[in-house]
């Protein structure tokens, strides 16, 4: 039975029972779901299952191959960790939404055709928005609406692309697409929105920091990495992705340096890490695609770990603004330690997970002679250490003592962080099992003297720069602020234009209605003037008047007949 049930469906169907359960039973049940799904996935051989006939299209709801398998595995591990992290939450909406969201993402990864992909694609959008709305304040409500519009927009583009693709080729199989046809371009854009391409990215930094503490951890895992998977499947080797990825890797780090909300800093660095993956897909060689997949795997873990640690800080102190935090290592030493593990992993320190995955992408860029891309990726590597590796732990846990004293994070949060941190280190120290999961054979040794030393040089001199800038007071302080990003165009300019257009329409309508009512009033007045009690037509006319007018008319007739 489970042989033909997608692991994603296990989570989605399983989520429907969650509202009926309470307490420990519910916790055990929720934790069992991703384990059962993972077991069902591992027990499946590679191949296509769950074939359905819809009209004259054949759907493949479950396709297991090397690429979908590795994404499925990490999604299910992340779902498990996300559930542990959220166990203290007593909000059924979040639990159900989280499970359906994770299940949809897993289902999408195993979709063998574009229609199934579309269904799950929209499933992730709709389920995940509840993780934002569950914060239950006005900001999150509006952020959730904006998020939903963008996500559904991506779905609409995907659907349009699928329809065109089907009309052109008669096939809906989800294979390599390329950007040669309009259908290919539309689907590329749909993936690009979810992958937060430059200028299409702002939904991410706008919405993730507004979601619930536990919701942001889930959000950070699925949507964008699903897009990475979809791009790797459909667009590997698309040269255009190299500059797009390089831009993504570079520009968000400038924002990350000046951003005050530490969960938003992490959202910018998430965007930057996606850039590395997109470059890998664009290069498209076996090593590059392996690098992308490995990096997505590691990134899901360390990014979730960082969001977990910042979530714990927000949970305990009620704020996540760098300007209000500091010195928390005294109150939350374990959280601080786990955060540092996540920071070391994202920065790519030797012995941590980022080191063994990012290297594949950078080496692939070097091997293919992408000089400028390589330079940008080095810059982005130094930059990510600067803003995620140092800034996040430094401003939250060290810096000046904010005086905040609180308890350590709840046990379930610590457990989730501990497991994730251990995974980050284990993968970093012993990468071979991960390399064995990758789509292609890996012939790469990350721990060479050259690689270790050059990477340490890059990172330690970045640390040196941070230290010197801090000590000289040049480093920009954390300030309560909003930084304008591309969302200004729709949140301010677009809104302004919409309001102006509305105002104009209102004025035009006013003009029409007042004009019409004035016209009607004048017509009524005119009728009243002529037909009213004192109007000319209401007068009783004496016989003399009639005789007078008859005489005039006869005279006129007489004159006219002589002319």
């Amino acid at each position: 039975m489970t042989g033909e049930l997608s692991p994603g469906q296990i989570l989605i169907v399983g989520a429907l029972l969650v509202p009926l359960l309470r307490g420990r039973l519910r916790a055990a049940y929720m934790l069992a779901l991703p384990i059962i799904a993972l077991w069902s996935l591992v027990s499946l051989p590679y191949g296509s299952f769950g074939e359905l006939q819809l009209l004259d299209m054949s759907l493949v709801t479950l396709r297991v191959d090397k690429l979908s398998f590795v994404f499925g595995v990490i999604f299910l591990i992340a779902a498990f960790l996300g559930i542990i992290y959220a166990l203290h939450v007593d909000d059924t909406v979040q639990h159900v939404a989280g499970l359906i969201y994770a299940g949809s993402a897993v289902g999408a990864v195993f979709a063998g055709d574009l229609v199934t992909l579309f269904v799950y694609w929209e499933g992730t959008a709709i389920a995940s928005v509840f993780l934002i709305w569950a914060r239950r304040n006005e900001r999150s409500f509006h952020a959730g609406l904006r998020y939903l519009v963008v996500q559904v927009g991506s779905g609409v583009l995907l659907l349009a692309g699928i329809i065109l693709h089907y009309r052109q080729t008669g096939s809906i199989t989800f294979e390599h697409m390329g950007t040669d046809s309009l259908a290919g371009v539309l689907i590329f854009l749909a993936f690009g929105i979810k992958c937060a391409f430059p200028l299409l990215h702002n939904w991410l930094q706008d919405s993730y920091p507004e979601a619930t503490i536990t919701g942001t951890v889930m959000l950070s895992v699925f949507t964008t990495k699903l897009a990475v998977y979809a791009l790797a499947r459909g667009y590997a080797g698309t040269e255009l992705l190299v500059p797009i990825g390089a831009a993504m890797a570079a520009f968000p780090i400038f924002y990350a340096v000046i951003e005050n909300d530490l969960r938003r800093v992490l959202s910018y660095s998430l965007n930057n890490q996606l850039g590395f993956m997109v470059v890998g897909i664009g290069i498209g060689t076996e090593m590059a695609v392996n690098g992308t997949v490995a990096h997505a795997f590691c990134h899901i873990l360390y990014k979730a770990l960082l969001f977990m640690s910042m979530g714990a800080v927000l949970y305990r102190t009620g704020t996540i603004k760098g300007s209000e935090l500091g010195g928390l290592y005294k109150s939350m030493p374990w959280t601080a330690g786990f955060c540092i593990v996540g920071a070391a992993s994202i920065s790519g320190f030797p012995l941590f997970s980022g080191f063994i995955s990012k290297a594949l992408i950078i080496t692939a860029a070097m091997d293919q002679g992408y000089f400028w891309t390589w330079l940008v990726l080095l810059f982005a590597s130094a930059g990510v250490f600067h803003h995620s590796g140092i800034k996040i732990p430094y401003f939250a846990f060290f810096a000046h003592d904010s005086g905040k004293r609180c308890s350590e994070a709840p046990a379930n949060m610590l457990t989730a962080m501990a497991i994730t941190a251990v995974l980050c280190v284990v993968i970093g120290v012993y990468p071979q099992p991960l390399y064995d999961l990758l789509p292609y054979q890996v012939d790469f040794r990350p721990y060479t003297t050259e690689h270790v030393v050059t990477q340490l040089q890059l990172l330690m001199f970045s640390a040196l720069a941070f230290t010197l800038l801090m000590r000289t007071g040049i480093y920009p302080p954390e300030l309560r602020s909003t930084n304008l990003d591309f969302d200004w165009f729709y949140r301010r300019l677009g809104r302004g234009l919409a309001l102006a257009a509305g105002h104009l329409a209102e004025r035009a309508w006013q003009f029409v209605t007042t004009g019409a009512s004035r016209g009607a009033r004048e017509a009524v007045n005119a009728i009243e003037r002529h037909h009213g009690p004192h109007g000319v037509f209401a007068r009783t006319w004496p016989t003399g008047t009639m005789a007078f007018w008859m005489t005039i008319m006869l005279a006129a007739y007489l004159i006219l007949s002589y002319l």
Binding site: R139, I253, F254, Y255, V257, I258, Y329, K330, S331, P333, M366, D367, G369, F371, W374, L378, F379, A382, G383, H386, F398, D401, G403, K404, R405, C406, S407, E408, T449, E450, V453, T454, Q455, L456, Q457, L458, L459, M460, F461, S462, A463, L464, A465, F466, T467, L468, L469, R471, I474, Y475, P476, L479, R480, S481, T482, N483, L484, D485, R491, R492
Partner: protein, 92 residues
């Protein structure tokens, strides 16, 4: 670990931590300088195999990391002039 839960300010009697002593912070900073100096010097002993010539320049990675980060921070600081708005900018 502090045990006065959720109170606003640490008290004077609170335990002093290792990092509370500014001399220890200085020691960490000197540690960073020392590690950087070490990594800088051993660069000469590490053969590079990359295809780009710039990579073979002495201590390229260290210098690049330093310059990149200083440039990043200065550029970001300058960007604040253009980009920074009050916190409630979008709520008005």
């Amino acid at each position: 670990m502090a045990n006065n839960e959720n109170s606003a300010k640490g008290t004077a009697s609170e335990r002093r931590y290792w990092l509370d002593d500014s001399r220890n912070v200085d020691r960490i900073v000197w540690g960073v300088y020392g590690i950087c100096a070490f990594l800088f010097l051993i660069d000469i002993l590490v053969p590079k195999h990359g295809p780009f010539s710039v990579e073979h320049v002495f201590a390229f990675y260290g210098v690049f990391g330093f310059v990149a980060c200083v440039g990043l921070v200065l550029a970001a600081k300058a960007l604040r002039v253009i980009l920074m708005r009050p916190e409630d900018y979008y709520d008005r």
